[in-house]
């Protein structure tokens, strides 16, 4: 046959009779043999020397990882290089770098294309911690769990580290060499060329793509984001007659109505929204001004719903009915409104009418466009548009209906129109709608290149795989939720020689290949020509914000209400598909911190489950009693979830406040190519879950016509006794008697009796006696060294349980992850946990979130029982832990009433992986096996501040020390400071009448205290 030294795929496919369009392994090809073996072998040998095939199959990925071990060693070294281009430190000039002192640089992380401005802490050139950027509109200094955990993503040793061609290790230059033929392959105008990206807000990248489009008029650009926001876009288009962006100002809203929207917990700007919303929710001494009020109608427990004053749990399909009812109530021509909760809705409507121009109605991303249109109409009639709801230009480089865009691509690929497919980021093979059968379609494309952080499912099917740079590794830019541009500046040279999308675009466009730095800079130079561009640019980099937000367009929304769609015949259970609260759409599946992060409501880690209401559980045959017993043992049933002929086996989990007849499952789990953490190959000691992929892949039941779920699902119990790594069982706060753990009141009650917390506690706390006078932390000697009394105040009425603080703590304090089995054995290591309690009926209870760090008791029960003085008090009243003195009797943990101490039952910390060493915070000891550890109030930060203060001979200023959890908190629920300074914020908060301590009756004198949760239910609605 043809003896040319190239493998002619086309000819080859012809020979094997098109039996296999794309082959992944020798065996697979051999199976489809149309040519005699000798020939086959000869061809194969030319194509795949040695281990290429095993690599491609992924079976031996671990061997591949072993090979990569060597390159990891370099990662350690690479970590010492600063990028060549000059980047501007946030606080000091780089020449001001003092060894051992961190520098902070402003940059931005994008999720779903939308940027959150952050400050990255750099220790000697190694980014070790992400903080929020106070100057950035979507952050205001706060961060969420994803942002916090992104630093682990940077160092993840499982990240793709080499360019690969057909699974074989290749080089960037080979890719460049190989790409020209591909572009030729696409006809002259590029009709056969397709570009698939995720949502892009980067003006520079957008411009590059436009340039490419100009070069190849026939080329098409497709976008796909699995966490899909088409409904929002389409809804806005219906309301405003074109793609726009809506930004909410909750700080001006007295009344907020959420229609299945988790605006405080996820989506663009949620950090900012949470801050604004909660700024109207704080109750302080002598305050008479009423706090805002939130009505939530939702199809499943969300962080927003858990702080709502009134909450209805309904099927997602019913939400539209409620929207229409509200609209109708406001006099809009809305048909098909629901008749349920008529009185409730009437009251809500009255409340809205009383707050015209000072209210917001928001709809959830998963709700159909119609609901969004209705909501905009409602806001319009209420006069909220342009006051609390601002309309701006879209932030996407090219807003589009992504589902349709992807559908188009798939059709073209199937029709063989696509000759070359370039995928910039994303993992469509894994997360495209099931009915698209993306992988089959993609296999028909002769040239496929994929840029991604991991060698993932899509990379496996691509001819060329290029490792992508992490956002901390390369230059770019992106828009915030309100359209403000941030320059993404790198802190470190690419660890695993990744390439940024800008470089790939550069090569596609051809011509001189610019570094991303030049690309971004030249773009902005042309954009903002001016003499003082240099200083401008410097300022942008310094502040992390380029210019200001685009001015709102003062347009009005149409108040036309779309006609109700013909009610679909809904039988069986209604299934709800959501992105996962901790690993998002699956992109964070290999992030151990996020995998081990308890999900806000279920507290499940390491996997996804089918969430149902107690009533539904009973329906399908789960007895309450048996369920309780199982939950005590941290296990549950396995169920078979059936939907459109497909079945999944998942654990089931009962969630109070979940709507009846609804099955909620989160997608993103079940990554086969996710890496060692996601793939269950991570080495945890005594790990029975090795080789067990974390969670179940739910994408196979995600269909393009029901992206967010629909009715018609079935569910059946399979077997009980499935071990689920859940960190907190269901506790109804009233069940164990009044322990005064959570204290709450309505705003009304508060005004009647501001110090209600005193009564609502356990009465024993009012008769405390002690044998001892207790220690004095006051400044006795005025000339002596400054004496501090550190303390913390946590406001439970503004905590949304977003988990930001938990990961912030993990990142700051080098806290190890322990794996599913150890979590199941109740050995998780989080220093800061968020307790979740319910109050009221399990059908629709009140939910409370309570972050629990170490209480730093003045009379710490843990200390007197330690036989070796491994834990003792310092002069500032901190309960210090001396790791290297600890022998590990665990007596302190037993005697801690708050159970905040964490013990290293095994050698949990990873001392081997070089990349992870580079990630650690050098100011915090990495704990070894057999020692106890616990929250220290970030003592490393305290000491740094004290040293600085002593140098210029002053006391530490209030706010001079910010603990990691406090820094991350979007709602400023956590305040830390010095009790000896009566003017400090924390001192003032401790004087609040709503201030109370946990288990005060034990006379532990906790330094961490809580402010009672105050809600503002509408007096006209009787609590049901």
């Amino acid at each position: 046959m043809n003896n040319n030294k190239q493998l002619d795929l086309a000819a080859f496919r012809a020979r094997i009779g098109g039996a296999k369009e794309y082959w992944r392994s020798l065996d697979e090809l051999a199976r489809a043999d149309a040519l005699d073996d000798a020939e086959l072998d000869e061809v194969m040998f030319r194509e795949f020397p040695r281990q290429a095939a095993p690599l491609a199959t992924g079976v031996d990925r671990r061997n591949f990882m072993k090979l990569m071990g060597a390159s990891m060693a370099f990662a350690g070294l690479a970590a010492c290089n600063r990028p060549e281009q000059k980047i501007i430190p946030y606080t000091k000039q780089p020449e001001g770098l003092i060894p051992g002192r961190p520098l902070y640089f402003a940059t931005a992380m994008t999720l779903g294309g939308v940027a959150t401005g952050v400050l990255a802490e750099s220790h000697m050139g190694r980014p070790t911690k992400i903080e929020g950027n106070p100057d950035h509109p979507s952050s205001l200094g706060a961060t969420d769990a994803f942002t916090q955990a992104s630093v682990l993503g940077l160092y993840d040793p499982d990240r793709s580290q080499v360019v690969r061609h057909l699974g074989e290790i290749s080089t960037w230059s080979d890719f460049i060499a190989g790409i020209q033929p591909a572009l030729q392959a696409a006809q002259k105008d590029g009709a056969g060329l397709r570009l698939l990206t995720q949502t892009i807000t980067s003006p520079t990248l957008g411009a590059q793509i436009q340039q490419l489009l100009a070069q190849y008029p026939g080329m098409k650009w497709h976008q796909w984001e699995p966490v899909n926001r088409d409904n929002v876009r389409e809804g806005r288009r219906m309301a405003f007659g074109g793609y726009v962006n809506t930004v909410y100002d909750f700080s001006k809203a007295n009344v907020v109505v959420s229609l299945d929207s988790d605006f405080l917990g996820s989506g663009p700007g949620h950090l900012r929204y949470a801050r604004d919303f909660m700024s109207r929710r704080r109750v302080r001494k002598g305050q008479t001004k009423e706090i805002n009020r939130l009505y939530a109608i939702e199809s499943g427990p969300s962080n927003s719903g858990s702080v709502a004053d009134h909450r209805l749990a309904v099927r997602p399909s019913q939400i539209e009915g409620y929207a229409r009812a509200i609209a109708a109530g406001l006099g809009l021509a809305a048909a098909g409104g629901t008749t349920e909760h008529a009185k409730w809705i009437a009251t809500l409507v009255r409340d809205l009418q009383d707050n015209r121009g000072a209210s917001v109605v928001v709809a959830g991303d998963e709700q159909p466009p119609a609901v969004h249109a209705i909501v905009h109409a409602i806001n319009q009639t209420l006069g909220n548009v342009n006051t609390t709801v601002l309309v701006t230009d879209p932030i996407e480089a090219a807003p589009a209906n992504q589902l349709e865009s992807l559908r188009q691509l798939v059709t073209d690929m199937n029709a063989g129109k696509v000759k070359a497919l370039i995928i910039l980021g994303g993992n469509p093979v894994f997360d495209a709608p099931a009915d698209f059968e993306f992988s089959h379609a993609m296999a028909k494309v002769p040239y496929r290149a994929h840029l991604s952080l991991y060698y993932d499912e899509t990379s496996l099917l691509a001819h060329w795989h290029i490792p992508e740079t992490h956002y901390l590794e390369s230059w770019s830019d992106a828009r915030a939720h309100d359209g403000v541009v941030s320059i993404v500046q790198p802190l470190i040279a690419p660890l695993y020689n990744g390439r940024s999308p800008h470089e790939v675009m550069g090569t596609l466009i051809g011509g001189l290949d610019q570094t991303p730095y030049e690309t971004v800079r030249t773009y902005w130079k042309t954009k903002a020509p001016g003499l003082n561009f240099e200083s401008e640019w410097k300022k942008w980099l310094h502040d992390g914000v380029a210019g200001s937000a685009p001015a709102p367009r003062f347009v009005g929304a149409s108040t036309g209400i779309p006609a109700p769609a013909a009610a679909k015949q809904s039988s069986g259970y209604e299934i709800v598909l959501r992105h996962d609260p901790t690993i998002y759409d699956g992109r964070f599946a290999n992030n151990g911190w996020l995998q081990e992060l308890p999900k806000p409501h279920t507290k499940i880690t390491w996997e996804n489950a089918v969430l149902v209401s107690p009533k539904t559980a009973r329906e399908i045959g789960m007895g309450d009693r048996q369920r309780e017993e199982l939950e005590n043992e941290r296990s549950t049933w396995l169920v078979e979830l059936g939907y459109r002929g497909k079945t999944l086996r998942l654990p089931i989990w009962v969630v109070p406040g979940h709507p009846d007849g609804v099955l909620t499952v989160s997608f993103g789990y079940g990554r086969e190519q996710g890496g060692r953490i996601a793939g269950g190959e991570a080495k945890f000691i005594e790990n029975p879950y090795e080789h067990q992929i974390a969670g179940v892949n739910v994408y196979p039941i995600r269909f393009s016509d029901a992206l967010h779920g629909a009715a018609g699902a079935t569910i059946a119990l399979l077997s009980s006794g499935y071990r689920i790594a859940c960190t907190q069982e269901h506790q109804n706060i009233e069940a164990a008697g009044n322990r005064g753990i959570i204290r709450s009141a309505s705003f009304e009650e508060y005004q009647k009796n501001p110090s209600f917390v005193r009564e609502s506690g356990n009465e024993e706390e009012r008769r405390i006696e002690s044998m001892w006078p207790g220690h004095q932390y006051r400044q006795t000697d005025p000339d002596g060294p400054a004496k501090y009394a550190w303390a913390m105040s946590i406001d439970t009425s503004v905590c949304t349980g977003c988990n930001g603080c938990v990961i912030a703590c993990q990142s700051e304090n080098n806290i190890a992850i322990v794996g599913k089995d150890q979590v199941w054995r109740e050995r998780e290591m989080h220093w800061l946990r968020i307790d979740r309690y319910y109050k009221g009926s399990p059908e629709n209870p009140e939910t409370f979130h309570q972050p629990v760090p170490c209480m730093q008791c003045e009379n710490a029960p843990c200390e007197p029982v330690c036989p070796v003085e491994a834990t003792s008090h310092n002069q500032d009243g901190l309960n210090d832990m001396t790791y290297n003195r600890c022998v590990g009797t665990r007596y302190c943990s037993n005697n801690c009433p708050y159970k905040v101490r964490r013990f290293n039952f095994y050698h949990y910390s990873d001392f081997e992986t070089p990349a992870l060493k580079a990630m650690r915070n050098p100011d915090v000891t990495v704990r070894t096996r057999g020692v106890m550890e616990k929250c220290t109030y970030c003592v490393q930060r305290i000491n740094a501040a004290k040293i600085a203060a002593e140098k210029d001979d002053r006391r530490v200023r209030d706010g001079g020390i910010v603990t990691a959890c406090q820094q991350a908190c979007p709602t400023e629920a956590i305040i830390f400071g010095d009790l000896n300074d009566p003017t400090s914020r924390v001192s003032q908060l401790k004087r609040e009448p709503t201030n109370y301590g946990l288990l005060e009756e034990l006379n532990t004198r906790p330094r961490t205290t809580y402010l009672a949760a105050i809600r503002n239910p509408n007096p006209e609605i009787k609590a049901d």
Binding site: E764, E826, R827, R833, P864, C866, V887, N895, F903, L1002
Partner: protein
Amino acid sequence: MAPNEQTPLHEVRPVTQRIPERFVPVPTIEPGHSFASITDHISSIVLRRKTPAGWVIGFAITFVLVMVLTATIAKLVFVGVGVFGINHPVGWGFDIINFVWWIGIGHAGTLISAILLLLRQEWRTSINRFAEAMTLFAVASAGLYPLLHTGRPWYAYWLFPYPNTMGLWPQFRSPLMWDVFAVSTYATVSLLFWYVGLIPDLATLRDRAPSLLAKRIYGMLALGWRGSARHWYRYEHAYLLLAGLSTPLVLSVHTIVSFDFAVAVIPGWHSTFFPPYFVAGAVFAGFAMVLTLAIPTRKFFRLEDFITMKHLENMGKVMLATGLIVAYSYVMEAFFAWYSGNLYEWYMMTNRWQGPYKHMYAALIVCNGLAPQLMWIRRIRTSAVGLFITAMFVNVGMWLERFVIIPTSLHRDFLPSSWGMYHGTMYDWSMYIGSIGLFLCLLFLFVRFLPLISIFEMRTLLPEAHAEAHEEH
């Protein structure tokens, strides 16, 4: 009287007339024995050349268990305490349960040898040596746990006050420190007491030993004892003083062990009446264990003449008495919980009855509350089998008591959010079984190489041992 009026031994034996059997006081030593016969019988158990097959088999089995223990310890030291079932609410599990269980068992030995001596209870004589040995070995098994339950056992020596470069001291307020002092003192004093008791018998063995090697070894251990009247005088004095010291010591040890819990804030631990409760429990458990061991041994070595039914019955009575105290404690524990009106205390109590571990609590009541009541019945109290079965119940019951106190209190304490469950793992069990193996293995060695009954004290039980000094002149 004049020496020539000495009556020969064989006529000194008491004559038993025909009187109803139950009026005959059961003697502490069966009639028909002389100094020689006592000496020869007991020392022959040690000195006989041929080792009985039963002993060899028994020793082999227990030795295997010791190997199981060694393997477990190896795993523990190399991998970490994570191999145990402990977790975050429940920091102590089998490790401390077994520690308390063993220490408790040890107490009977000291009680028998010291307190009964002070109370001039003759019947103690034939069992005290054995009981003391049991004490030592129980303390040895107990001692393993505090050492090995730590996360870093190789630093356990930090619990001792020794001079170090850091100028650091242990934390003397910690009950664990008190434990260190109490248990080590207890072990040391028990060992001294035991050894002092052995000296004259070692001399006997020295003089009886057939082989030169044995002669030498026993000779060295006997320290050249020759039974001089002066020596005997000081010896008895010292022995009495030791008994006087051991009595408060034995009470203090379990009191301090109970402080491990009583000093803590955890509901179910934080209780002022733990010391008497624990001490009674210890004696209870101890006597049960003495019975468990004495009954088979007595049969195997044909010691019915020395360990008579009177001994067994008395031990049964002590078991009943202490058992009643323990039962009373259970009632009081519940009463305090209710009467205190303390939410946490009362929840803890109800959780014991109704919570996930309710079966443990039920079993505890059966074993420790009901089973000992059998001792009211004379027929059971005077039958070896009946006593043995009851004793087994108590052994199990006392283990359950510690389980109910330790994990059941910890697993649901103050904040419901951190409630959890506790289960022993394979390694918990292997370590427990291994420690039992160690205990029995040491006992086997003891009965083979040392007189398991105090020979010289048995001699004093014979009527001809009582001589009167003449007062005229």
